[in-house]
Symmetry: C2
Subunit: 315 residues, 2 copies
C-alpha cells in the first residue's frame, strides 16, 4: 500500500490499517521508519495518561472505567496495554484483555496490547513509537496500562503526560512497592478499592511519604471504587488538569532522541560488522579468556565508524 494513502487511512479512522501499521512499528518492519516519519507531523494532540500499580491494584478496572468516562465526554479513546514481563504472566493479562473486550462494541475505544520484549531498543522505545501512531490516528485520550511497577514499567509510563499510581488498602506492601522509583513519575495517587478497610491508614502513610519529597506534598490523592464507577469522574478531571498534550516536552525529546540514535546505531552495527555469527564466536572467545572484550569492542566501534568493519589495526 502506498505510504501516503496508508497514513491518510489511519488518520481517517481505519482501524484495520491502524492495526497493521502498529504491527509494522512494533516489529520494526521495513516500512516502520517511513510510516512513523509520515505520521509524526500529525501527532501532538492526544492526552496521554499512564496508569501503573502493583498487580491486584485493579488497574484494568480503573482503565476500563476511565475509558467509559472519557467516552461520555465525547472523546475518542485508545488503550495501550503494555506487558513487559515474561510469558509467565500470560494468564492474568489474557484475563484482563478479555474483560476489556467489553469496550469493543463501543466504536470509540480502541484497545491494543503490546507484549513484545527484547527488541533491540527495549519495550519503552517501541511503546513511544506506537504512541506517535495512535496520537496521529486522532485519539483524544490514550491510556497506557502497565502490568507491574518495575523499571520497565516506569520507563513506559514516563512517556505519558500524566501518570496515575494505583494503590489499594488490601495490600500492605503497596507503600513499600512504591520505593522502586515509581514515586517520582506519579502525578496523581489513586487509592482504589477505597471501600475496603485500611484506606485511611494507607492515605496517611502515603501523605507521610510524599511530604518528605520535594514536590510530593502538593500531589493529589484520590479515592476510587472502580468496580462501582465511584470517583472515576474526579480522577478523569485530575488527569486532564495535569496533562497538556502529548506534544512531548523538550525534556522528553532529549531523552527520546538519544534513545532513537542509540537504537539506530545498534541496528546498523548488527546489520554490519556485528553479525549474529560473529558475535557468537567473539562471546565464546571472551568466555574462555581467549579474547579481551574491552579491546574487541574498541575494534568493532572503530570499524563501524571508519567504514572498514573488522579490519585489523591501522598500520
Amino acid at each position: 500500500m502506498e505510504l501516503n494513502l496508508w497514513v491518510e487511512k489511519i488518520r481517517g479512522g481505519d482501524v484495520r490499517l491502524l492495526a497493521r501499521g502498529l504491527s509494522e512499528i512494533e516489529n520494526r518492519g521495513p516500512r516502520s521508519r517511513a510510516l512513523l516519519s509520515a505520521l509524526f507531523p500529525h501527532s501532538g494532540q492526544a492526552r496521554v495518561i499512564g496508569l501503573t500499580g502493583a498487580p491486584g491494584a485493579g488497574k484494568s478496572t480503573v482503565v476500563s472505567a476511565l475509558a467509559l468516562e472519557f467516552r461520555k465526554r465525547e472523546k475518542r479513546v485508545a488503550i495501550l496495554a503494555v506487558d513487559p514481563t515474561s510469558p509467565f504472566t500470560g494468564g492474568s493479562i489474557l484475563g484482563d484483555r478479555i474483560r476489556m473486550q467489553a469496550h469493543d462494541a463501543d466504536g470509540g475505544v480502541y484497545i491494543r496490547s503490546m507484549a513484545t520484549r527484547g527488541s533491540l531498543g527495549g519495550l519503552a522505545p517501541t511503546a513511544a513509537d506506537v504512541l506517535v501512531a495512535l496520537d496521529a490516528a486522532g485519539f483524544d485520550v490514550i491510556l497506557i496500562e502497565t502490568v507491574g511497577v518495575g523499571q520497565a514499567e516506569v520507563d513506559v509510563v514516563r512517556i505519558a503526560g500524566a501518570v496515575a499510581l494505583l494503590l489499594t488498602p488490601s495490600s500492605g506492601d503497596d507503600v513499600q512497592t512504591m520505593k522502586a522509583g515509581i514515586m517520582e513519575v506519579a502525578d496523581v495517587f489513586v487509592i482504589n478499592k477505597a471501600d475496603l478497610p485500611g484506606a485511611d491508614r494507607l492515605e496517611s502513610e502515603l501523605r507521610a511519604m510524599l511530604s518528605i519529597q520535594p514536590v510530593g506534598a502538593g500531589l493529589p490523592i484520590l479515592r476510587t471504587v472502580a468496580t462501582a464507577g465511584q470517583g472515576i469522574d474526579k480522577l478523569a478531571e485530575a488527569l486532564l488538569d495535569i496533562d497538556s498534550a502529548h506534544a512531548g516536552s523538550a525534556d522528553y525529546w532529549r531523552h527520546r532522541l538519544t534513545e532513537m540514535v542509540s537504537e539506530k546505531l545498534m541496528d546498523r552495527l548488527v546489520r554490519g560488522s556485528l553479525s549474529e555469527e560473529h558475535l557468537a564466536v567473539a562471546a565464546r572467545q571472551v568466555a574462555v579468556r581467549e579474547a579481551n572484550p574491552y579491546e574487541l569492542v574498541d575494534e568493532l566501534v572503530r570499524g563501524l565508524l571508519t567504514g572498514r568493519p573488522l579490519e585489523p589495526e591501522c598500520e
Copy 2:
C-alpha cells in the same frame, strides 16, 4: 600511578587502590577502559552470587550471614550492594550499610556500595565492569545484593552465576511480586524468616508456581532464619553447587558485548555530533513539531557513520 603497578597492587590486595579503581570504573573516568582491559585477563575465577527479593525479605541479613559462612570456609569475600532506586530510599540503604559494617573488622570481607544511576549505559553495565575488577582483585566469592525486584535488579543479578531469590512468609505479596520477571533468573529460592507462621503455605504456593515453568520443578527451595544463622550453610552449599565461576558463559558475553558496543557508540556520538547543546535545541524543535525526530536521527547517524571521524585517524 602507572597502570601496571595499579593492577598489580589491586591484585595484591591493596584495598585503597582497589577502591580508587572501582570509583574510576563507576564514574567512567579517563582511565577506566585501560584499567578494565588490564584487569580482565586476571578475572574469571570468582564465584558470583546474586541475592534479590522484595524489601523486607531480609536480604542484608542473609548476605551478611553468607559472607560469614564463606569466611569460615577460608574464602575471600566481597559484597557489592547495588541500589538502582532513587535517593528516596537512601534511609533504609544507609541502615543496611551501617549494619554490614560489622564485617569491616574482618579483613576478609570487602563491602562496596553502588548507587550511581543514569550513566550512559545504566546500572547493570557498570556493575558488570565493577565485577570484573573485584574478580581480578582475587575475591573467591562476590555477593551482589540488590534492593528490590524491578527490571534494573533483574538485569544486575543476571550478571551473577547463581541467583537466590529471597521470600518471607510475612509478606503475602511475595509470590505476586515474583511475577515481575525475577522468577526466570532465580536458581535457588530461599524462604527466609522461616520460623514465622506461613512458611509451609508459601512453600506450596511457590512449588505450584514453579511446577508450571519449564525448569522450575527442579529448583531448590531452602529455608533460613538468617538472624540466627539457621540454614545458611545449606544455602552456601546450594549456591556453590550451581555457580561454576564468573568466567561468564558465552550467552552472557553475547549480551554484554552488545551492551558494551552500544555504550561506546553513544559515548562517541555524545562527544561528537550530539553535544548537549545540539541535543537541547533539537529537542525543543521536535517538541513544537518544527523538526521531525525520525529524520533528525537519520541525519545524526549518517553524519557519525560517514562524515567526519570523531577522533584523529591513525597516522
